[in-house]
């Protein structure tokens, strides 16, 4: 999918950044004007240091102000700008244009499986509802709070370290083919965030969360296609986390 960018020595002054033209093919959805979505392309002059998000900014700021997408921090932390770039879910602020094949148009679409509201903006509420249902907060013995710290060993922390990295961008859940066809499925992100508390030895709500995920629409819907692991911009081993939750439910019930 990605091609390496060969730096060309066309510029004489060292330190100058190469520039190139790139065609951005964007899936538009403007419900005020068109009932159906359609593709629109712009060719823009970009630099070797630019990301897909910069190209979208350039289009929005200089060519077509109606282009609509979410972004907040623009540095891969807030998780607002997950989108489908060349057919795979990525954060627009983390994909460098030079890492893509710029000889072909770069396609940008809204993430799949959630209702599109406008251009790249989808209704995230079903996603957050699944997140709420797995109770993403510490459930602990109230008799000792808040008199002292809840100490934890480094080893105990290691068990769920990977799943603490989630930024709720929905790249994983909206890359999951099971979620595309079954919108009721909790999805990888909710399971990852449940994993973060289930395997936290300070937390006492693990059984409740395992019960929630033992649902018809819970972990058993997962068919280990690894799309989520590939999509995660934080490098979380999502499928592994789901498998660990499956094992925990099995261990509890058998």
């Amino acid at each position: 999918m990605t091609t390496t960018f060969e730096p060309t020595s066309t510029t004489d002054d060292a330190g100058a950044v190469d520039s190139f033209t790139v065609t951005m093919q964007v899936r538009r959805y403007q419900p005020e004007f068109h009932e159906e979505g359609y593709w629109e392309s712009w060719t823009v002059e970009m630099h070797g240091t630019d990301r897909v998000l910069d190209a979208l900014h350039k289009i929005k700021w200089e060519l077509d102000g109606s282009l609509t997408f979410r972004r907040s921090c623009a540095h891969g932390i807030c998780g607002s700008d997950a989108m489908r770039i060349n057919g795979v879910n990525r954060l627009a602020c983390k994909v460098l244009l030079k890492d893509l094949d710029t000889s072909k148009p770069i396609t940008v679409e809204a993430i799949k499986g959630l209702p599109v509201e406008k251009d790249m903006i989808v209704d995230m509420e079903p996603f957050f509802q699944s997140y709420r249902e797995i109770m993403p907060f510490l459930i602990a013995d109230e008799s000792q709070e808040p008199t002292r710290e809840r100490l934890q060993s480094a080893e105990a922390r290691e068990a769920f370290d990977d799943t603490t990295k989630c930024i709720l961008c929905a790249a994983c859940t909206s890359s999951c083919p099971v979620f595309w066809t079954d919108g009721q499925y909790f999805g990888p992100a909710a399971i990852v965030n449940a994993h973060r508390f289930i395997f936290d030895d300070r937390d006492e709500g693990g059984d409740m969360r395992l019960e929630v995920l033992n649902d018809k629409e819970g972990v058993w819907r997962c068919r280990t296609t690894f799309n989520c692991t590939d999509a995660c911009p934080r490098g979380i081993q999502v499928t592994k986390a789901i498998a660990e939750v499956k094992q925990a439910i099995l261990a509890r019930n058998i």
Partner: protein, 161 residues
């Protein structure tokens, strides 16, 4: 600092549009878990059952040329192959039914279509399992024609009676 009372409804706190609420299917059963475990266990067992079955039918002895009524009849005279084929039948049918059921769930969007396909699937599976089981246990290896002569290709032990 102004003492003005801020009264901004906290977004997404308890005030959730009902359309986002999960249509909760009574979750207290372990049905999905057992289905998942069954698929994981029956898969490897089926691999062994099926490949030994293929090997014994197609490779041993005359191989594919020796495959006739007599071979099947001879196999089912032995309790080992009866149990073997019975296990293979049940595991394969249940494994396949769960798998196809999942595919139906994936590819049907209307409830009526899904229920229709599921009913057809379950009826077909039950019919095949019942018929197959019946055949394995009530099989008559030494069949005779109208004149009372043994059929061609009957297993050898029929001729010794």
């Amino acid at each position: 600092m102004s003492s003005q009372q801020l009264n901004i409804a906290a977004p997404r706190s308890g005030d959730i549009d009902p359309k986002y609420l999960r249509q909760s299917a009574s979750s207290s059963s372990n049905r999905e878990m057992f289905k998942w475990v069954f698929m994981r266990i029956s898969g490897p067992i089926l691999l062994v059952l099926i490949f030994v079955h293929l090997f014994s039918n197609l490779m041993v002895g005359d191989g594919v040329h020796g495959l006739n009524f007599g071979l099947v009849a001879g196999k089912w005279a032995s309790p080992l192959w009866q149990i073997w084929d019975l296990t293979m039948l049940w595991l394969a049918m249940i494994h396949g039914t769960i798998g196809v059921g999942t595919i139906i769930d994936d590819y049907t969007s209307k409830d009526r279509t899904r229920v229709g396909f599921k009913v057809a699937l379950y009826l077909a599976s039950v019919a095949i399992i019942v018929l197959g089981t019946l055949v394995i246990f009530t099989f008559e290896p030494c069949m005779t024609d109208a004149a009372g002569n043994l059929m061609d290709n009957s297993p050898s032990f029929c001729f010794n009676q």
